[in-house]
């Protein structure tokens, strides 16, 4: 997995390229926390290039969601394919996150 971080307006957009799993999820967590520490408040994670996520990847997303909220920030997820949507539904995490079908919709929702 690799990921790229860029700013679109006020929103920090993270593109996850590849799977988000036990071997690489800490890196994502750290990079987002670094941005949070720099004072960023709006975050969008785009999964259009992600095949699957394991429980530790989901755990990192839950942890980020909490930390971002604690700092008065907001997190959106976008472009989950059908398999990823199923994963979120199975774990009921679709009720915890704000999930948008497209990047644009996610950006507009802030």
């Amino acid at each position: 997995m690799s990921f790229s971080i860029k700013k679109e307006g006020e929103v920090v957009v993270v593109d996850v390229e590849g799977q988000l799993i036990v071997g690489n999820r800490q890196e994502l967590k750290q990079k987002v926390l670094d941005e949070l520490e720099r004072g960023e408040k709006k975050f969008l994670i785009d999964f259009s290039q992600t095949g699957y996520i394991d429980s530790s990847g989901l755990g990192v997303l839950v942890s980020l969601s909490k930390k971002i909220r604690e700092q008065g920030g907001e997190l959106r997820l976008a472009n989950l394919n059908d398999d990823l949507k199923t994963l979120f539904e199975l774990t009921k995490l679709d009720t915890l996150f704000q999930i948008a079908d497209t990047r644009d919709r996610a950006l507009q929702s802030f």
Binding site: G51, S55, V62, S65, D83, L87, T95, L96
Partner: protein, 155 residues
């Protein structure tokens, strides 16, 4: 009696005489998980498992099992190994993951991660996902280690 017609051209009927076995032994390194998953996933794809099974059920459940074996079973000790054996035939996938640890009680770990009081926990979803994504998850006693066997019927 006329011979049965095997229509392989439909794309959904795999050859009945095919059984594929993937067997690997890896040191305890989570960075090796993806490669092992790809080996098994590819066989399921060749055997015409349903797309959802190839893209979600198999990779996530197997990643969980390997992660457990490496981190919990083997304590993330690279000197300890994980052995994986996957058998794929037209009916099912059976994958066995063996670590060198004392094993853990599969039932003990079950608290419902979808319950409201657990939903924002970072942990606790691994076994739940294995059970949801596979038809059967069993722990088998073996000497000097712990074996988890997962079965998925081809869909």
């Amino acid at each position: 009696m006329p011979p049965a017609v095997d229509d392989h051209s439909s794309g959904r009927v795999p050859p009945h005489d095919r059984v594929r076995v993937v067997e690997v032994d890896i040191p305890s390194d989570v960075n090796l998980i993806e490669r092992v998953v790809e080996l098994v996933r590819r066989e399921c794809e060749e055997m015409d498992f349903a797309r959802r099974q190839v893209m979600l059920n198999v990779p996530v459940a197997l990643t969980e099992a390997l992660s457990n074996a490496i981190l919990r079973g083997n304590g993330d000790d690279p000197a300890k190994h994980v052995h994986v054996r996957a058998l794929v035939d037209p009916e099912r996938l059976i994958v066995e993951v063996v670590d060198e640890g004392p094993g853990f009680d599969l039932d003990h770990a079950v608290t419902d991660p979808t319950a409201p009081e657990n939903i924002d926990r970072e942990d606790g979803r691994g076994l739940y996902l294995m059970r949801k994504l596979m038809d059967r998850v069993e722990r088998v006693e073996v000497p000097h280690g712990s074996l988890v066997r997962m079965t998925l019927r081809r869909g």
